[in-house]
Symmetry: C2
Subunit: 194 residues, 2 copies
């Protein structure tokens, strides 16, 4: 086990309500690879809990069975770094369940931070959100899957984070890559040192 550090950050990966390609509101499928990758990324940046949000019982069972394999089964000996990454991963039904869990643990309701692919007048820059995270207040970063979070969730966010903006105008990163880049910008050491 590596050293234990705590930040004020939790992360949720939401599979409902999200849009599909046609703009319908759907429940997207959980990708177990997302769960592994994002768990490792969260562990690297000392995120408290990574919540996988899906209301579908079959999908919840799938994730829990996969986690049992790596946490307790043969996988825990075969690949201990994967086990360590998954220790802080949890499956919940809805986003509010993650909010309630954090509120209970921390005694304060977390502020929600949602990155959006579009830039709005009220979008916050990375340095602004980085400063906001550097306080005692818990913050929940919420990421959508499929074609993005249902807009009601985005409208209720406390902070909208500006898009990543690469160099090319191409704006189609996989969610696992976006989470890696965003956590590094908000929490990474090298950026902070400059």
């Amino acid at each position: 086990m590596t050293e234990s550090v705590h930040t004020n950050i939790d992360i949720a990966l939401v599979h409902f309500p999200v849009y599909n390609k046609s703009g319908d509101i759907v429940t997207s499928s959980v990708t177990t690879l997302d769960v592994h990758d994002i768990s490792r990324i969260c562990r690297t940046y000392a995120v408290n809990t990574f919540y996988v949000v899906t209301p579908l019982e079959t999908q919840q069972k799938l994730v829990n069975r996969m986690m049992e394999h790596w946490l307790e089964g043969y996988g825990s000996e075969y690949n201990p770094t994967r086990k360590e990454a998954l220790l802080s991963t949890r499956v919940v039904n809805v986003l509010d369940e993650a909010v309630a869990d954090i509120t209970q643990r921390r005694g304060k309701q977390p502020k929600t931070v949602i990155p959006d692919a579009k830039r709005f007048p009220h979008s916050r820059s990375y340095p602004e959100v980085r400063a906001a995270l550097n306080t005692d207040h818990p913050h929940l970063l919420v990421f959508g899957t499929g074609w993005g979070l249902e807009k009601g969730i985005v409208e209720r966010a406390d902070l909208i984070l500006a898009p990543i903006d690469g160099l090319s105008g191409y704006n189609h990163l996989p969610v696992r890559a976006a989470i890696a880049i965003i956590l590094d910008r908000l929490l990474g050491r090298e950026t902070q040192a400059e």
Copy 2:
């Protein structure tokens, strides 16, 4: 198609020679998901060419067949952003073939930059390498798979890049996440603006 930008950067993902868990030098398997994710990340940061390096003919065929599907087959209409990402992806036998290809295209042999999970006295920081990339000279960023690049390749690198260093001492990011973070630190706009 989004705007066309050129950087001085190419990327290679090496499947041979790399170490396996026991420290033997092996050829790791190509993960098609790595090819998709890294192609999207490279497209986002305007990397010139993403070289998938494997000497195994069966693996080369696998990648080329997958690319044909998305570039020319049904996939090109179903998911044009995936097609666009794969346009600059190429399979080569060995790392030297990527170096030769860049040398021919650019008229100069690229300098190789290799991120290492360990920090050495001569490791370069991200701002140092960012400045080096901001010149006319072509640079090839080389990433290993499996348990890392064979040490002879690392020793011959022109620049060794410092490890990512999260917050927890946990140092087991998937290669696709590491590439996303490293390209953002070396080429991203938001970091540059600060």
